[in-house]
Symmetry: C2
Subunit: 222 residues, 2 copies
Amino acid sequence: MSEKTSPPENAPDARERIIEVAADLFLKQGYGATGIAQILEAADILRGSLYYYFPTKEDLLLATLEWRKKMFWPEVVQPVFDRLDDPLERMFGILDGYRNLLLVCEFQMGCPIGNLALELSESNPRVRQLLAENFDNWKNAVKGCLEEARHKLPEESRPGDMAHFVLTVMEGAVMLARTYRTIECYDQAIDRLRDYFDRLQSAATEWGGKPASKRHQSAHKK
Amino acid sequence: MSEKTSPPENAPDARERIIEVAADLFLKQGYGATGIAQILEAADILRGSLYYYFPTKEDLLLATLEWRKKMFWPEVVQPVFDRLDDPLERMFGILDGYRNLLLVCEFQMGCPIGNLALELSESNPRVRQLLAENFDNWKNAVKGCLEEARHKLPEESRPGDMAHFVLTVMEGAVMLARTYRTIECYDQAIDRLRDYFDRLQSAATEWGGKPASKRHQSAHKK
C-alpha cells in the first residue's frame, strides 16, 4: 500500500491508527458528524498522512468497515466462544457483549455497524455492501450456533432465518437502549428473545417432529 | 407563536410547510446531512422566514419530532384500525405499514424516529426525550392491541414488555431491510415475530395456565 511513494510517517502503524481512531469516532458520533480535524487530533497525525492513506473521507469509511469485518471474530465472537460451550448460550453470550458495551460506554456506543447502517443507507453501493458484509459475518456466527443447537429446536426453524431475527432484535434493542439510556430496554427485548427460544426448545422436545431417540443421538453431535 | 413580530410570510402555512419538508428530509437523508439551503429550496421559503420560526436547526428538529408525535396516531395507527378489527392483526397491520413505506420509497425511508435515534442519541436531552416520547407513542398503540388480545396470550406475557419487543423487532427489521435493500429482510424478521406470537397463543390455549372458563372471562375484561 505504500510502495508508490514513501509513506509520510511510520507506516503501517499510522494507517492502522487512523483506521482505529476513525472507527471509534464514527461509532461514537456517527460518520457525518465526525470531522477530519477531529480524526487528525485523535490519531495525532498530520493532514498529509491522512490524505496519503485515505484520499477521501469515504475511503477511510470503507477501510474502517473492512477493519470491523476483520476484527469481528477475534474481538466479538472468540472471547465468548472461549468462555461458553453451549451453542445457544454462545449466541446469548454474543448478545451480552453488546449489553456490556452499552453499560461501559454509558450508551454512547452501540453496534458499530447498526450505528452507521441507517445513516449511510443512501451512500454509495460499496459502503452498503460492506455494511451488509459485516451483518453477514454476524449472522453467520449466530447461524453456526443455531446449526449446532439444531437438535434442540423445531425442525422447521431455519438457522439462517433465526440468525437474521436475532440480529434484528439486537439492533433494535441497542437503538432503544441508547435512546432511553436504560439497560432495561436492552434486557427486556433479549428476555423476550430468550422466551421465544425457550418456547422453540419446548416445542422441539415436548411435541416436536423428531422422535426422542433421534433427539438424543443429535444431542451428542456437538 | 407569531405575536411578538409579524410573521414574514403566510403563517401558519409557512411554519407547517417548513416542518413537513424538514421532517421528510431528515427521514430520507438524516439530520446531519440535511443542509439549511436544501430546506429553504424544498419548502420554497426565504431564509428569514426559516430563522423567524426556527432560530436554530435544533429548534426545527424539535418541531419535527413534535409533529411526528402528533401525526403518529392519525397517519400510522388510525388507517390500520379502521381497516382491521382483530387486535393482533392490528398490530401486524401497523408493522405492515412500515413494509409498505420501505417498498414505496425503495428503501430510502424507514422509521422516521429510528432513523434519527442512532444519529442523535448523543444530542441534547430534549431531543432524546422527544425521540423516546415518539417511541412511547408507538409502544402504547401496540400495548393497547396486546391488552385487548390478552385473553389469547399467556398470563405471564406483559403487554408493555411485549410492545417494547415488537418495536425492537420493527426497528431492527427496517434497519436490515434498508441496508440489504430487500424486503425479504423485513419479512423474515416479521415472520419470526409472528411465529413467536403463534406459539404464545398456542401456549395460552393449549396448555396455558388459565382454565378455559377463566380465559373467557378475561376476554371481557378489556
